[in-house]
């Protein structure tokens, strides 16, 4: 059934950007208000989409399709499912918040800044909604440039280096992806006789194991850079430190999720056998990412850089859950993507407030803020503990599910990753400590005035969501789970069953029991007596 809602969501930011560009006035207030109103439109549309979204359906829905390049089999195809639903909502929610919270942040070339922020949202929404591999790749590359401009033009002292590094890192990754993409499409055309970039038809492409491995490696590298996973992560701290507040929030809020989303949407379903064999490596990198990110975050003198490395650690958790190959882990990691977007976004906004007042991000410059700016300190307290995933906040639900799922898939990875929870508390509380508690060491801090109504109200939606997802996550989980089941069913059908746990709801059949009972340490090689067809584990088609 044809729906216009997704196209509307994707293209309203683009039209908004054009309208803004063509507006004759340079008056800052007019520009800010119009940009804010323009950014509300996609938010309202995405809420309408949420209404139309049928929670029971796991596969792509609200899909649209129109021929774009018939000779290449490329269609303008959009669709949404459990994986992209909440990410779309986070994207459309974050922009208005950025505009309100950073009302006076940007002074030079405001019109271009707002133009690029709307373009950035357009790119991200396009990538999230695209269900045609070519369309996804187009938005994947398109997304880069507004972000690079935001970092490069309005960033900090080393903004140009950060911008170039950001673009080149991703482009090098996506170069290989382009070749792999073309290869898969051609193989599929050879099999079905029809050239098509449509994702769902590409899922069934018959590839030999070697081909799958090569293509999976190409896709995986492109997405690992974006996640980012250690050692391909060094662009993130620079990009975050140099980007203006609005840029950092969007970068952390949504751009980082593209990598993990890419794994879920493309790498896993298209190359099941290869994805399954990469299981130990990705798990290793995820755990390394968690611990490494947390450890490197600990000594950071600059607040933004600390939060950037914390993102590396959090995304390590997301990858851990995503690669647990069971419903609990994957659903948890999709939810954690949303949580990380919210709490890290809020952290950046708060750092932005203080930066706007004191023009420095060095932790040593602050201290004893509790007495001077109590409202700010209270908000920072809530967001810090959400980022440390305290039960009752959103972070906990995601992390609990991820670790539970990861524990099932790889007990050692799961338990080592749990240490990440401790390290997380370590560096976050250290930062909170040095900034908020202790005596007022720097006289300038005394002159700080507390957050005004606007700044507080900008964060209220995020704080509300932090507690809502923390205490009543079911509406969110219920919409993610069916899609996870569809993905796992697809993997099972393709014979990649080695790490799959039987996901029956209440009482799991004897198969799972036999599986767990059999090998104590590593539940990787379960004998599936009850499993008829794929008894031999990862039987390669």
């Amino acid at each position: 059934m044809e729906h216009g809602i997704l196209s509307a969501i994707v293209w309203t930011p683009f039209l908004g950007a054009l309208v803004l560009l063509l507006m004759p006035t340079r008056n800052e207030n007019v520009l800010r208000w119009s940009a804010f109103v323009l950014s509300l439109v996609p938010l309202l549309l995405s809420l309408r989409m949420l209404q139309l979204f049928d929670p029971a359906v796991g596969s792509l829905q609200l899909s649209e399709n129109a021929a774009w390049m018939p000779s290449l089999g490329v269609n303008y195809a959009l669709g949404v499912d459990g994986f992209s639903l909440w990410l779309i909502l986070v994207t459309t929610l974050l922009l208005p918040i950025i505009l309100v919270s950073g009302w006076h942040d940007i002074d030079k070339r405001l019109k271009e800044f707002l133009f690029f922020m709307l373009l950035l949202e357009w790119g991200m929404l396009g990538a999230l909604c695209a269900t045609d591999l070519f369309l996804f790749f187009t938005f994947w590359e398109l997304m880069l440039f507004p972000m690079a401009f935001v970092i490069g033009v309005w960033g900090g002292p080393r903004r140009r280096y950060a911008a170039i590094k950001f673009v080149l890192y991703t482009m090098a990754g996506s170069a290989l992806m382009m070749v792999a993409m073309v290869y898969v499409v051609l193989r599929q055309a050879a099999a079905t006789g029809k050239l098509s970039f449509d994702i769902v038809s590409l899922y069934g492409t018959p590839l030999t194991y070697a081909e799958q491995l090569a293509c999976f490696a190409a896709f995986a590298i492109a997405f690992m850079i974006k996640v980012p996973m250690v050692p391909l992560h060094t662009w993130l701290p620079d990009a975050h430190t140099e980007a203006p507040t609005g840029g950092s929030v969007d970068l952390a809020g949504v751009l980082l999720k593209m990598g993990a989303y890419g794994f879920l949407r493309f790498a896993l379903p298209m190359f099941p056998a290869a994805a399954q064999d990469a299981f130990p490596w990705i798990m290793l990198l995820a755990v390394v990412g968690i611990l490494y990110g947390a450890m490197v975050a600990f000594p950071q003198p600059d607040m933004k850089r600390l939060v950037a490395y914390s993102s590396v650690s959090h995304m390590g958790f997301v990858m851990l859950g995503l690669y647990a190959f069971n419903t609990i882990g994957i659903t948890g990691s999709v939810l954690q993507m949303v949580n990380h977007g919210l709490s890290t976004g809020a952290l950046f906004i708060l750092v932005g407030y203080v930066y706007h007042r004191r023009h420095t991000r060095q932790i040593s410059e602050y201290g004893g803020l509790w007495g001077i700016v109590p409202v700010f300190s209270a908000l920072l307290l809530v967001v810090t503990f959400s980022s440390v995933s305290l039960p009752g906040t959103n972070g906990f639900v995601g992390e609990f599910l991820i670790l539970l799922g990861a524990f099932r898939a790889h007990p050692w990875a799961g338990s080592i990753a749990t240490i990440g929870v401790v390290l997380g508390a370590g560096y976050m509380l250290t930062m909170f400590q040095r900034v908020i508690f202790g005596p007022v060491t720097n006289e300038e801090n005394r002159a700080l005035h507390d957050l005004n109504a606007r700044e507080v109200w900008a964060l209220v939606p995020i704080i509300a969501l932090i507690f809502w997802i923390g205490l009543y996550p079911n509406p969110f989980l219920r919409r993610i789970e069916p899609t996870t089941r569809v993905l796992l069913e697809r993997l099972r059908a393709a014979g990649a069953t080695r790490h799959l746990a039987d996901e029956d709801r209440r009482v799991s059949p004897t198969a799972a029991a036999a599986a767990l009972g059999a090998s104590p340490a590593h539940a990787a090689e379960p004998a599936h007596p009850a499993e008829p067809a794929h008894a031999a584990g990862g039987a390669h088609p």
Binding site: R109, E112, T138, L144, F149, L168, M171, A175, V179, V182
Partner: protein, 484 residues
């Protein structure tokens, strides 16, 4: 000797290039008698009319593919599409040159007729299915191009460029002729059908020698490594409008000649020359990109970038299938739009006394002339190969052609090269947007025609990127008839 009747087919096939040549002559005569007032555009419009006539003839022939003059002169899809590229580059160059040359003190109004003569030479090359006709086309084009390079007589750079271009061009022509002689000796014929027939019986040494010699000549024209050393110097020396014409028109003609020669004439030898071209293609794109990284002058950087693009084109030729032929043609079209646009912006940057084409001059352009900076950003992003612009589509088809016939490493090297290329294209974008302007603002001159040409190039780059299907089908179908 082939007995060649002179029927209607022959008249129709020579119509396009001869109309352009005649147009050139009329424009030349007109420029002698027309009054001397500066800023007159009559000669330019006269020349444009000549091009229009050529275009009309080409469009009239669309659909009626046939080889005239006994198969040595093919008016098929390939040459017609090639003609479109040549005519496009010629007319854009003329629009861009208008005003640009006067401001540089170049009053020589024979510029436009020379462009026409060069274009007619290209059209002959595009249609030639006989080595001798190919030679004639190359010479007509090159002679006009040598003079065009040196059009700005008082500028040492321009004359030096012309000198280098001439000496090396002539040198290459000798190799071309010697190659033709080798083929004539080996296969007893100079037309492609004759050559194909004689290939089996030809001695291998003569064939290898002949192809090597041809590669030198055509490699020189297409600026393929190791014959590309002249390109940066000549492109930098010549006036920017001429550079634009050379980097698009001349290169396109060379590639159509190479493609037709290798895919049609030397088809059966495919397996032999494929490996050589593969190596040359990789060398070309790598050398082009790596040297471009360290350029301080944007014009010279674009020269190296055009070498890199020659590498991508040669990769398409090396694959040697009709798909890759179509990809090369389409790439030429996309390449034409974005490169003409990029050079056009440099022209717009230049003022009478100072060309302003250093990287420092680009700083803060976004503040001073946002529209110009926006156009340049579109061209550079397209050159980098960012979807949905034309550059990406061209690159995608070459990669698709390469992958479809199993050339994975070629495709991987190609995309990695374009990732390296992104650095120097980005450095220009960064200079424009993210740096503050240095020095006072030069006295820009308003050039309506140039603005129109830039707009056309930008629209072409975006539209071709968004809706390439039609053109691709035409190009692929055109090549299907050639590659047997």
């Amino acid at each position: 000797m082939i007995q060649v009747p002179f029927g209607t087919a022959e008249w129709q096939s020579i119509a396009p290039f001869s109309l352009v040549a005649i147009g050139g002559m009329i424009a030349l005569l007109w420029s002698v008698f027309a009054e001397e007032r500066p800023g007159t555009t009559s000669v330019m419009w006269m020349s444009q009319a000549g091009l229009a006539a050529g275009l009309a003839a080409t469009i009239a022939l669309l659909g009626s593919e046939k080889a005239s003059f006994g198969g040595t002169f093919a008016q098929d899809g390939v040459s017609l599409l090639a003609n479109l590229v040549f005519l496009l580059s010629a007319s854009m160059t003329m629009f861009m040159a208008q005003g640009h040359l006067e401001s540089m003190g170049v009053r020589a109004r024979e510029f436009y007729p020379l462009v026409l003569f060069a274009t007619s030479g290209m059209m002959v090359m595009g249609a030639a299915r006989d080595l001798v006709i190919l030679f004639l086309g190359i010479e007509v084009m090159s002679l006009a191009a040598y003079v065009l390079a040196g059009i700005h007589r008082r500028d040492p750079g321009s004359t030096e460029a012309a000198l280098k271009y001439f000496v090396l061009g002539a040198f290459a022509t000798c190799f071309l002729l010697y190659g033709i002689a080798a083929f004539y000796g080996a296969t007893g014929a100079t037309d492609y059908d004759g050559i194909r027939a004689g290939l089996a019986s030809a001695p291998r040494a003569a064939l290898i020698g002949g192809v090597a010699l041809l590669v030198v000549a055509l490699g020189f024209k297409a600026a393929i490594v190791p014959f590309q050393a002249w390109t940066p110097d000549v492109y930098q020396g010549a006036p920017t409008a001429v550079t634009a014409f050379m980097s698009v028109g001349v290169k396109a003609a060379a590639f159509v000649g190479i493609t037709r020669l290798f895919l049609d004439g030397l088809g059966p030898l495919h397996l032999d020359w494929q490996r050589i071209l593969w190596v040359l293609a990789v060398l070309t794109m790598t050398v082009g990109n790596v040297l471009a990284l360290v350029q301080g002058n944007v014009k010279r950087m674009l020269a190296y970038s055009s070498i890199a693009h020659a590498g991508y084109l040669l990769a398409g030729v090396a694959v040697g299938t009709s798909r890759s032929g179509g990809a090369v043609l389409l790439y030429l079209l996309t390449y034409a739009f974005m490169t003409l646009g990029a050079f056009g912006v440099l022209i717009a940057m230049g003022t009478g006394e100072k060309p302003n084409d250093e990287l420092e001059d680009m700083r803060g352009l976004a503040d001073r002339r946002p529209l110009l900076a926006g156009a340049m950003t579109i061209f550079l992003l397209s050159l980098t190969g960012i979807p949905p612009l034309a550059g990406f589509v061209g690159k995608l088809y070459v990669v698709e052609a390469a992958v479809s016939s199993g050339w994975f490493w070629l495709a991987i090297l190609l995309v990695l090269n374009s990732a390296v290329a992104a650095y120097y294209y980005l450095s220009v974008i960064i200079a424009m947007w993210m740096r503050d302007p240095v020095g006072d603002e030069p006295a820009w001159e308003s050039r309506p025609y140039l603005a129109a040409a830039l707009l056309a190039a930008a629209v072409g780059t975006v539209l071709l990127g968004l809706f390439p299907s039609g053109t691709l089908d035409f190009a692929r179908h055109a090549f299907a008839s050639i590659v047997r």
